[in-house]
């Protein structure tokens, strides 16, 4: 699979924000998000999804729960949208159509 551009990564994050918004602030596993991205022909690997979620967490757009696993990097168990994340999503929406 070819490497995605930065813009494509950013659009993937928009899509993740959109899906989390549709889930109405409910916690969602990374697996569910990966499946959704497959559905819309924007495949993201498990590692890629983990990276996106961690990035979005650092930005304050999502809240996350992380599970510590002995000898391995902690794994994201679920993520949900924050109010800041919703604002960011609305900011990314296309402008007024009139």
């Amino acid at each position: 699979m070819r490497n995605k551009t930065l813009a494509e990564h950013d659009h993937d994050r928009t899509e993740i924000l959109r899906y989390l918004k549709e889930c109405q602030f409910m916690p969602v596993t990374p697996v569910t998000l990966v499946r959704h991205m497959d559905d819309i022909f924007h495949p993201v690997t498990d590692e890629g999804m983990e990276f996106h979620l961690r990035y979005m967490f650092e930005k304050g757009w999502v809240q996350m729960n992380v599970e510590a696993i002995a000898g391995k990097r902690p794994k994201v168990v679920w993520a949900k949208l924050t109010a800041a994340g919703l604002d960011e999503f609305n900011r990314r929406a296309p402008g007024d159509t009139d």
Partner: protein
């Protein structure tokens, strides 16, 4: 079954962000003409109203209905379990299972799902009960340890001050160590 990409999805491969723009406009309730106008101005693509309508029916609407059904079933299962008993991790996992079940074409039979989730929830409750019992036992052990220590210290003090240990003293130590049971027999005269 292989899913054929719609024209909008094909264009999305050439113009980054085209599809998500269409989705967000549809979310906002924009008309097909408004979407057509945006695609022309932002992405430089002349797209017919039919193309946008086709995407809306085959993808956007289907996804919205699916999400609605998924959320309704999820809420039903959550209410049955009692929201307080369901942690966020369990909620996320439950949602994932429901999503997978729908993808496998399973009719979302709440009874079947509830049975599985009841077992889960029961397991979580059992684990919590065991933890509580463990804490109780630890407390009892600590209390017993203190009682034994107290009784033996009393005995030590008596011996230190040259007093004799009586049968009652011995029985008290036995009781505190082993619980109430047969008292020690008097030694033969």
């Amino acid at each position: 079954m292989r899913i054929q990409p719609t024209k909008i999805e094909q264009l999305d491969r050439q113009h980054e962000g085209l599809r998500v723009d269409v989705d967000m406009l549809l979310d906002k309730g924009a008309t097909l003409e408004e979407i057509q106008k945006l695609l022309a101005s932002k992405h430089g693509e002349q797209v017919s109203i039919n193309t946008i309508s086709n995407y809306k029916q085959r993808r956007w609407l289907v996804a919205r209905l699916r999400m609605k059904e998924l959320q309704e079933t999820f809420q039903a299962v959550k209410e049955e379990l009692g929201e307080a008993a369901v942690s966020e991790s369990t909620q996320a996992r439950l949602f994932e299972l429901l999503d997978q079940a729908m993808r496998n074409g399973a009719a979302l039979d709440p009874e079947f799902l509830l049975k599985e989730q009841r077992l889960w929830a029961q397991h979580a409750v059992n684990v919590a009960k065991i933890e509580t019992e463990k804490k109780k036992l630890e407390l009892q052990i600590e209390q017993s340890r203190k009682a034994i220590e107290e009784a033996t210290n009393e005995a030590k003090d008596k011996i230190r001050t040259g007093q004799q240990l009586t049968l009652e003293d011995i029985n008290r130590i036995r009781e505190r160590t082993f619980g109430a049971g047969e008292p020690a027999a008097r030694p033969p005269a």
